[in-house]
Symmetry: C2
Subunit: 102 residues, 2 copies
């Protein structure tokens, strides 16, 4: 097994406010835009009452660049004004990982 | 703001295999059991096609103890034989966090 190379995860947990207000369209756009950022590794999402989106990045620098992307900044503002009642964002260093599949 | 104290996140992403096979009952039991483990800080879950459960812990030692808990080991085996087609588990150090609420 090759040596494990640390990478980073951004855990974004959120509760939506009422109303669609263009949310799904913007969420899709942001996912497409994230995918073409330098250092992007992947994204996983699920939502029931609580939404969890985890995006994976090569470095803290890649996360900082994505955070300050102009279109993403617009989405972040809309998030605060229109889409979320609550969110929490955690920047994490992935230290170990395990897989299972059959 | 008090200085941020690092803690740990276990990101468990999974795809269920077909059939209930006691899954929901065991998932509830494991959540109750996790809550009383030393060093447990919290848990967040959502499932659509993909399931994401993130649990939060004070230390790597707390995670190791929970991993080797006897009842949890039974659930882990059932996970492999009965409940999951695929899963991935990542152990992460939470380095920074931000909140928003209104």
């Amino acid at each position: 097994m090759p040596p494990f190379k640390n990478y980073y995860a951004v855990i974004f947990t959120s509760i939506r406010s009422n109303g669609e207000k263009g949310y799904s369209h913007m969420a899709d756009q942001m996912e497409e835009l994230a995918k073409v950022q330098p250092g992007y590794l992947g994204m996983e999402s699920a939502r029931q009452e609580l939404g969890i989106t985890v995006s994976y990045w090569e470095s803290l620098e890649a996360i900082a660049n994505w955070k300050s992307n102009a279109d993403h900044l617009v989405a972040q503002k809309r998030g605060i004004t229109d889409w979320y009642k609550w969110y929490k964002l955690r920047i994490c260093k992935v230290e170990r990982e395990y897989d299972f599949f059959k």
